[in-house]
């Protein structure tokens, strides 16, 4: 699946193919595994996805962003399985004539991947224990238990 990968994400090789003669602004976002979560030492992360659904949603998202911001470059790849500290869990690359559109599209794509695409992380702690999910740093969009029922 083009947008999911179980091996190390080769950011350098994705970057190599992210250039376009009409794209003056390229933005690359890399979500990398931190060594702590709210002060607790993290050993590694594990990601799983509803794979075909997630892959299709990311493809649709890139197409939507391409239309909306006139992108010349739109790439996104999410890692699955075990990911070590400082490794890339997700990469998004956008390119547009001007930087404003490249930044806006990039942020839109990663926000949607984090909030809507069926991919989940499980944090494994150095001291033992694990927790599924955890909150995104943009707390205002956090799912609230009270809103669904």
């Amino acid at each position: 699946m083009e947008h999911l990968c179980t091996e190390h994400i080769d950011v350098g090789s994705l970057w190599q193919r992210s250039h376009h003669p009409e794209a003056g602004g390229l933005v690359l976002f890399s979500g990398e595994v931190r060594d702590n979560h709210q002060g607790k030492a993290v050993s590694h992360l594990y990601y799983e996805a509803a794979e075909s659904m997630a892959n299709n949603m990311i493809a649709a998202l890139l197409e939507e962003a391409t239309q909306r911001w006139g992108l010349h470059v739109a790439i996104a790849v999410h890692r699955l399985g075990k990911v070590a500290v400082m490794e890339t869990a997700v990469v998004v690359i956008t390119g547009a004539a001007h930087r404003k559109e490249a930044y806006a599209a990039n942020q839109y794509i990663i926000d949607r991947i984090k909030h809507d695409v069926p991919i989940w992380k499980c944090e494994y702690f150095a001291g033992g224990g694990r927790i599924w999910g955890g909150h995104c740093s943009c707390k205002e969009e956090r799912v609230d238990e009270s809103v669904i029922f």
Binding site: G31, Y47, E48, A49, A50, S52, M53, A54, N56, H78, A89, V90, I110, I113, K114, H115, D116, V117, P118, I119, W120, K121, C122, W132, G133, G134, H135, C136, V143, E145, I148, F149
Partner: protein, 78 residues
Amino acid sequence: MIKLEFYAALKDHFPAWMEVDDTLKDVRALRKYLVDRDMSASVLLAQCRFAVDDTFVDEGHALRAGDTVLVIPPSSGG
């Protein structure tokens, strides 16, 4: 039969997949069936969305024999 697939934290409560009979008429009935089956998963199930044919569906979506339903906890990719 209807096939259910569970992900992430749901797998602490349910198997990775299971089959249920097709007397569950819609997503609302399925959600209630799952809560009744494991009350300790009720908060998590309240946060879940459901997908059929890789597309999110709402509470009133009718279920049919042969459907595969994904039970989708809140996303936490990235």
